[in-house]
């Protein structure tokens, strides 16, 4: 019988995978995708509890999380393009100067 626990464990696993992705990968785009993974794992929890407690607040908040993720992706990618245009690289550890 599938209980809320299963969803929480799944969310935790995806969350850790996201964190590992952020910490270990050099390519900014992959880091960005890992952040998306983290956001989605949060969404799973929200919806799981909304299903458990039978009210719709969780889903509404999940929608807000998605809008924030969309806005953040747009801005982040804009920064990446501007960055790439100047530094010709998207390796996280090569971008270490505050002012070039």
């Amino acid at each position: 019988m599938i209980t809320t626990n299963h969803y929480l464990v799944l969310a935790a696993i995806v969350f850790t995978i996201g964190v590992i992705g952020v910490l270990t990968r050099r390519n900014i785009l992959i880091i960005f995708m890992s952040i998306e993974l983290i956001l989605n794992s949060v969404n799973i929890n929200l919806v799981a509890f909304s299903y458990l407690l039978k009210n719709v607040v969780g889903q509404v908040f999940a929608i807000f999380v998605i809008t924030v993720a969309a806005a953040e992706a747009a801005i982040g990618l804009g920064i990446i393009i501007a960055l790439f245009r100047n530094k010709e690289t998207i390796q996280a550890d090569e971008i270490d100067l505050l002012k070039w």
Partner: protein
């Protein structure tokens, strides 16, 4: 180098390169032949063009210097292979003028009629390919259906469809076959409403207007300075047509108008050529009604040896003023034959017309110049 907001000089990303040089041709569906255009682009906008031609150079002028006069005609069929009749007319009339031979009126009428048929055929081919480049597929089929009728008439009279060796120095090869004039009358009665068909499809078509209005604009002054002639020049409003300026053959006997554009953009040149087709049809109808009888050959000496001297004779080809400058040393073969190639000179205007437009407009502008690589490369 312009600086973007981070104050750094613009770097090259894969697609964001500042200036890209793209090769259009020599094998490209819309260059109407073996023309290579090197386009320097800034993103989508064209900054500079450089035309590389000569792929179809066959040295016609050199070969003709070693052939007798009459044998040169087939070579001039093949320079502008879309308008062979007017090529022949120019050369043949130039030699006749030097020989001092006056062809009988029947020949003049037939020559004028066939030249006007060739003008309509050439404009039909231009209309078909120009519309196809901009995306209207159906007009291509309609235009070529009418052009097929004209080619049938050529085949009946000259024996061939495209490179037809139409005229001989001093007259014609054979007289009109039986029923030829009726066939011409049938054609010229129907071409009128066919042209309305094309206009119906294109002239007031929003997208066609969008793609051709204010594209490739050239002022009258620049057009004359660039030596443009033909519909490209008349599109900018300059009233210069060799058939009116220096009437040759039997053009003085017919009344017809010269359509003129106003803005000098692709749309006006389109309107000018469509109207020219109607005017040619008017001439043809007058030819049919007033076709004189009489011999079809003048008294030309058996061996053609024009006196020592030179002569420049130009005719109004579908693409512009087609001139022949013949220098003769009194021998049986010409000393020097220079062809004034209208498309070669019109193509030179591409550099000025395309500057500042988008890549998609280059296709439309090459179409509106109506170029044929056979004549450009000779």
């Amino acid at each position: 180098m312009e600086h973007d907001i981070f104050g750094a000089i613009d770097e090259k990303t894969v697609l964001d390169a500042n200036q890209v040089v793209i090769n259009m041709g020599p094998q490209h569906p819309s260059t109407h032949g073996v023309l290579r255009v090197k386009l320097t682009l800034d993103g989508e906008r064209v900054i500079d063009t450089d035309c590389i031609i000569g792929y179809l150079h066959r040295g016609t002028e050199k070969i003709v210097e070693n052939r007798p006069y009459a044998a040169g005609v087939p070579y001039f069929d093949r320079t502008d292979y879309v308008a062979a009749v007017s090529n022949n007319l120019g050369y043949v009339e130039c030699v006749e003028k030097m020989l001092g031979v006056e062809v009988p009126p029947r020949v003049q009428y037939i020559r004028t009629m066939m030249t006007e048929f060739q003008r309509i055929a050439s404009h039909l081919l231009w209309l078909g390919t120009h519309a196809l480049d901009i995306g209207a597929m159906t007009v291509f089929l309609y235009a070529f259906r009418e052009r097929e009728e004209i080619l049938k008439l050529f085949e009946a009279l000259f024996g061939a469809r495209l490179t037809i060796h139409a005229f001989r120095i001093g007259g014609l090869w054979q007289d009109l076959p039986v029923g030829f004039l009726d066939a011409c009358r049938r054609f010229s009665d129907t071409i009128g409403e066919h042209i309305n068909e094309y206009e119906g499809l294109l002239t007031n078509n929003r997208i066609w207007l969008e793609r051709t209005r204010d594209i490739g604009v050239i002022s009258a002054q620049d057009a004359i300075d660039l030596g443009l002639t033909g519909p490209v020049l008349r599109g900018s409003g300059v009233n210069y047509d060799v058939r009116k300026a220096r009437p040759y053959s039997a053009y003085a006997d017919f009344d017809f108008d010269i359509p003129l554009g106003v803005h000098g953009d692709t749309y006006d040149r389109y309107l000018v050529r469509i109207e020219e087709m109607r005017q040619s049809n008017r001439i043809i109808q007058q030819c049919i009604t007033r076709m004189p009888t009489g011999p079809i050959r003048a008294k030309a000496p058996r061996v053609i040896k024009p006196p020592v001297g030179e002569y420049y004779h130009s005719v109004e080809g579908p693409k512009g003023e087609l001139g022949y400058y013949i220098v003769s040393e009194g021998k049986t073969s010409p000393y020097r034959v220079r062809i004034r190639p209208p498309t070669f000179i019109n193509l030179q205007a591409l550099k000025k017309l395309v500057k500042g437009h988008l890549v998609a407009d280059v296709v439309a502008i090459i179409g509106t110049l109506d170029i044929v690589l056979g004549e450009i490369d000779r």
